[in-house]
Symmetry: C2
Subunit: 556 residues, 2 copies
C-alpha cells in the first residue's frame, strides 16, 4: 500500500493567461484530499471563439472527485481568478474562502446565481489560516493591481508550499498592502517545498515600477488640459482609479465615474474598507451640467470593449456627454495582446472628434501589476524553494521562467494544464496527465470547445452558408425544383445570373439524373446535393460554402 | 467660365494604413486630366471581414472618369501600393508606370490576369520624367524597406507637388539608394506647392535607425546558436533578407529560402539588378540533408499568417524539416497591430518544441521602414512646401502629422479619403466630398463593404443559424410539421431536450394557431416563424440566432 503524496495539478492558467484553476492534493494516490486555488475565466475573441460569452476551465476531473474537494481559495478578485466561481459552485459544492474585498466581488457573482452569501467565507490575512482537510492555508498580502491580492501559504504534512498568486514588488502600491520582503523571508525560513509563481512578465527585463510613480505624471497631464479630461483604466485597479480621481480633484475638477464596473469596484472597495479618502464624485446626470474644463470622467473600456463607456463615448453622445476638440482622453492602461484593433478603432474615432488621445507609449501613465524578471529573481531568492513551478502564463512564459529558475540555481518543472506533479520527494515527478480543456459559456449553455459548434460558426463566417430544400413525394419523385437560400454569399457571380438561380438549376439537373438508390437514401442524396452546390458555387463565386440540406419526404 | 485648377483626392490610404490610391488632377473643374498614384490593397481580419480575401479601394469615381485618366504611377512594390493594379487594370484602362523592380512585381500580377507585360512601363529615376497630359512625373529614389521606392515629383502648370511615397531617412539602406537630402533640397529649391507625406510613424519620437545597424546584431545572435537558425522577415524587405543571409554565411551556415514570396522577391531583385552579391542558397530539398548547426532558414510568415512557412514549421514538419530543442527562431520584424494573436500562437508552438524564440522587443533585430517624427521634421524642412498634406495613416496619424506641420510653421490640411482638395490658390480649400469606400474581393467576386454579405457572416458567427422549412399544400394547410436544422448552436438547452425538437414543437404550435391571413402571406408567415424561433432559442439557450425560413407551397 502506497503512502501519502502531495500533488499539484493545474486545470487552467498554465499554458494561457486566463482561467486560472490550480489543484493541490494530499493523501494516498487516488484518494488525495484536494483544494482548488482560483477558478477564473478567459475571454473569447472573434478569431477562435466567435459568439462565445466566456471561456471556463473544464473541471470534469474535479467534478468526478467532488467528495475529495475540501475548499476553494480565491487569491484576488480579477475575473481570470474569480470569474467562474459562481458558475461552478453547484457542481463543486465546496466552501469558498477569500479576503474581504475578493469575497465582496465573489458574493455578487454568487447572488447572480441565487447562492447565499454564506457560500463565501471571509478570511483574515496571515497568520490566520483556514484548515481544509490535511491543508492549512493562509492568505499573505501581496501587491498587485487590485486590492487585497494574496499569495497563499499552503501547509500539509509533507511540508510548505507557496502559491504566489498574481503579484508585483511594489513598496508603495497606493491602495492595499505593500510587498513585504521580510514577511516572505520569515514564512520561508523553515523551508519551502515548492513555489508556484506568476510568470506573466518574465520577458520584461527591467525592475517593475511602483504605482506611486504614476500619480505625479497624470497630475501634470490633467493640469495641461483645457477641455474635458477623460481617463480609462481597469475598473478593478482601484489604486489607479483613486490616483486619477485625486489628480482630477487637485486640478479643481469634479470627478465622475462612468461604467457599471467602475462604480461597482469603487463601491466594493469602500464597503470593505480597503479604499479610504476617495474624492467625492458627481453622478453622470450632474456631470452634464458642469463646464467641460472643470470635469474629469473616469470610464470603463480600456481594452476598447464595444459596450463599455469609452467605446460609447467614441461613438457619440453617452449619458448626455459628447467629447470634442480640446478634450483629452488618457489610456492609463496597456492594451492586452489581441485587443489592439478595438483600441485603435476608438482612438481613431476620438481623433475624428478632435480629441487628443494619450496612451502609455511614453511609459509615464501606467505600470504593470506583475513581477518583472528582476522581481521574480527577488521572489526566488526570498522563498528559496526546493522547486519553482511557473504558472500564470502561456507556454512561452512558463518556459522562460523555467530558464530563469535554472539560472538562479533552482530546480523547476514546466507543468502545463493537465500535468499532475508529485511534489513528495526531493525531486518533483510527473504523476499523471489529466485531460483538460475549455468549456464555453454560450448564452446560457455550456458547450465543449471541441463540440464543433464554434467550428461551424467559424466556417459559416469564412465560407458563407447555402441552404437547400428538397421535397420528395410518396413515390420518391421530387415535388417541384430544389429550393436554395444563401446567407453571407455574393448574390451574383461570374455568369451574372443570381447565384441562387444557378445553384437551383444545377441541383435540379442533379436530381433529374440521380438514380433511385441515391434518391431513396437521405445521406447519399444529401451528400450529392452538397457536392453539386459546392462545385457550382466554386465556379460562380470562387468559394466553397457551408451547405445544409433539408430533405422532406411526404408520406401518404 | 472657370479657370484650371489643381486637385488632390485620396481614394484610399488617408484614414487607414493600407489600400493606397491617390488621385491628382489638373484642368477646368469637372474636366481635370487625372493621374493616379498607387493602387493597393488592405488585408481582411476575422473581426470585421471574415472570409474576405482582399480589400480594395472603391474606385467607382475614377471608373466614371476613365477617359480623363492619363496614367497610374506606382511608388513601390508593397501590396498596399501595388496590390490592386492588376485587379483594376481592365476597368481603368490607363498605362501603368513604375521603376524596374516595382514593374517586375506589377507585371507578375498583370500576368495572373492575362495582361501583357506592356501594361507596365519601366521608368528610369529622376531626372527622367513621364509626360501624362498636363503632368510631368518623376521618380525620385527614396529609402524605404523595399528596393527602388520612390517619391514622386509631380509638375503641372500650377506648380510642383511632391508625393513622398513611403519613406525613411536611411543613409545606409543596404540594398537600394540612400536618402539623398541634397537632391530633395535641389528639387524643392524653386518652390513646392504641396508635400503629400507618409504619416505612419508620426508617433515615434526618436530619429529612425538605419538598416545597417541590424546586421552586426543578427550576426552575434547567429554565432551564439547551437542548433538550426531560422529567421523570418517581410519577403519584400530584400535588404533584410540579404543581411540575414550574409549573417548565416559568415557563421558558416548554408542558407535556404523558404516560402514562395521569399523566393519570388529575391528573384525579382536579382533579375532587375537591384540585388547583387546575394549568398548562394540551397533548396529546401537539399536543406534536409544538412546538419542543423550548419543550416539557416529564411522563411515567410513574420505576421503569423496561417499558411506561411513559419506557421507550417510551428505546426510540425514542413518540407522535410522539423524544428527542435536548441534551435533559434528570429522574428526580424515587428508585429503589425491586429496580428498579435497569430504571432503569439506560433511563438507558443515553438516554445512547446523547445525552440528559443527571439523577437524585436530588444529593438536590436529590426528597424522600421517609415520616417519617425524627427525624420518628418527633416522632410518638411528640406521641401519647405506651401502646404503639408499628411497621407498613409489612420485618422490619428494624419491628425498628429497636421499638428507636427503646424509646429513647423507650415500650413496643412487633414484630407481623408474622399475629400477633394483644391491646391490652386495660396490656401488649399476643400472642393468636394466624393463617396469612397471599400470593395471586398471574396473568392472570385467583388462585393461592396455595405452589401450586407459580410454583415450576415458576422451575425452567423456570433449568433449561430437556425433554418426552418415549412411546406404548405394547395389549401394552405401545413404538410407535416415544420422542420428545423441548426448550425453553430448548442444541441441542447435548459430543458435538456434537443434544441431542434423544442424549436419544432414551438413552431408547430405557432403554425396551428396562425390565422389564414398570415398563412397565405409569405412575408408575414416568415416573420412569425422567425420571431417564434428566436424567442424559443432565447429561452432554451440564451441566444437569439439568425433565422432563415424556407416556405414551400405545393401547387396542384
Amino acid at each position: 500500500m502506497s503512502s501519502e503524496r502531495m500533488i499539484y495539478l493545474p486545470l487552467g492558467g498554465a499554458g494561457e493567461i486566463g482561467m486560472n484553476a490550480y489543484v493541490y492534493g494530499y493523501g494516498k494516490p487516488g484518494k488525495e484530499r484536494l483544494i482548488l486555488v482560483d477558478l477564473g475565466v478567459a475571454f473569447p475573441d472573434m478569431d477562435t471563439t466567435p459568439g462565445v460569452d466566456l471561456i471556463l476551465p473544464d473541471i470534469q476531473w474535479l467534478k468526478e472527485r467532488k467528495n475529495q474537494l475540501e475548499a476553494v481559495f480565491i487569491t484576488h478578485a480579477h475575473e481570470d481568478h474569480v470569474g467562474a466561481v459562481a458558475q461552478y459552485y453547484d457542481q463543486l459544492g465546496a466552501p469558498v474562502y477569500a479576503r474581504a474585498f475578493t469575497a465582496n466581488i465573489a458574493r455578487q457573482k454568487m447572488a447572480e446565481f441565487g447562492h447565499s452569501e454564506k457560500a463565501v467565507t471571509i478570511v483574515a490575512p496571515w497568520p490566520e489560516v483556514v484548515v481544509a482537510g490535511p491543508f492549512k492555508v493562509g492568505f499573505v498580502p501581496i501587491s498587485h493591481s487590485i486590492p487585497e491580492s494574496s499569495g497563499l501559504v499552503i501547509d500539509c504534512p509533507h511540508g510548505r508550499l507557496v502559491h504566489s498568486g498574481d503579484f508585483k514588488v511594489d513598496l508603495e502600491p497606493g491602495v492595499g498592502e505593500p510587498f513585504d520582503a521580510g514577511l516572505w523571508k520569515e514564512i520561508s525560513a523553515s523551508g519551502v517545498k515548492a513555489l508556484m509563481c506568476d510568470s506573466t512578465n518574465v520577458f520584461s527585463p527591467l525592475k517593475g515600477r511602483s504605482e506611486s510613480g504614476v500619480g505625479p505624471e497624470i497630475e501634470k497631464l490633467v493640469a495641461g488640459c483645457k477641455g474635458m479630461f477623460i481617463a480609462t483604466t481597469f475598473a478593478s485597479n482601484v489604486a489607479r482609479v483613486k490616483t486619477l480621481a485625486e489628480a482630477g480633484k487637485r486640478a479643481g475638477r469634479s470627478v465622475c465615474l462612468m461604467g457599471r464596473a467602475m462604480q461597482r469596484m469603487v463601491e466594493a472597495a469602500i464597503e470593505t474598507g480597503v479604499l479610504k479618502g476617495f474624492p467625492n464624485t458627481v453622478s453622470p446626470e450632474d456631470a452634464t451640467g458642469i463646464p467641460r474644463e472643470s470635469l474629469m470622467l473616469i470610464v470603463t473600456g480600456s481594452q476598447g470593449e464595444r459596450r463599455a463607456a469609452s467605446a460609447q463615448l467614441a461613438n457619440g453622445k453617452y449619458r448626455g456627454i459628447t467629447l470634442k476638440e480640446g478634450d483629452t482622453f488618457l489610456f492609463s492602461s496597456k492594451t492586452i495582446p489581441g485587443n489592439e484593433r478595438g483600441v485603435i478603432r476608438i482612438v481613431n474615432q476620438f481623433s475624428e472628434m478632435g480629441v487628443d488621445v494619450v496612451d502609455d507609449s511614453s511609459g509615464l501613465y501606467h505600470v504593470s501589476g506583475h513581477a518583472n524578471r528582476p522581481d521574480l529573481d527577488l521572489m526566488h531568492e526570498l522563498i528559496k524553494p526546493q522547486v519553482v513551478i511557473p504558472m500564470h502564463g502561456e507556454h512561452r512564459h512558463l518556459r522562460e521562467h523555467v530558464k530563469l529558475a535554472d539560472s538562479n540555481g533552482l530546480q523547476s518543472v514546466l507543468a502545463v494544464n493537465g500535468m499532475m506533479v508529485d511534489l513528495s520527494g526531493n525531486k518533483p515527478k510527473v504523476a499523471a496527465y489529466i485531460e483538460t480543456g475549455r468549456t464555453y459559456l454560450d448564452g446560457s449553455s455550456k458547450i465543449g470547445a471541441l463540440d464543433g459548434v464554434v467550428r461551424d460558426r467559424i466556417r459559416m463566417a469564412l465560407n458563407g452558408h447555402v441552404m437547400i430544400n428538397v421535397i420528395l413525394d410518396e413515390d420518391d419523385e421530387p415535388l417541384g425544383e430544389p429550393w436554395c437560400e444563401i446567407k453571407g454569399l455574393a448574390e451574383t457571380g461570374n455568369s451574372r445570373a443570381p447565384l441562387v438561380d444557378v445553384l437551383e438549376e444545377d441541383l435540379s439537373q442533379y436530381l433529374g439524373r440521380a438514380n433511385a438508390k441515391t434518391i431513396k437514401d437521405d445521406d447519399k442524396l444529401e451528400e450529392g446535393l452538397r457536392q453539386v452546390a459546392r462545385k457550382s458555387a466554386m465556379t460562380e463565386i470562387g468559394k466553397k460554402p457551408e451547405v445544409s440540406v433539408i430533405i422532406s419526404r411526404l408520406s401518404a
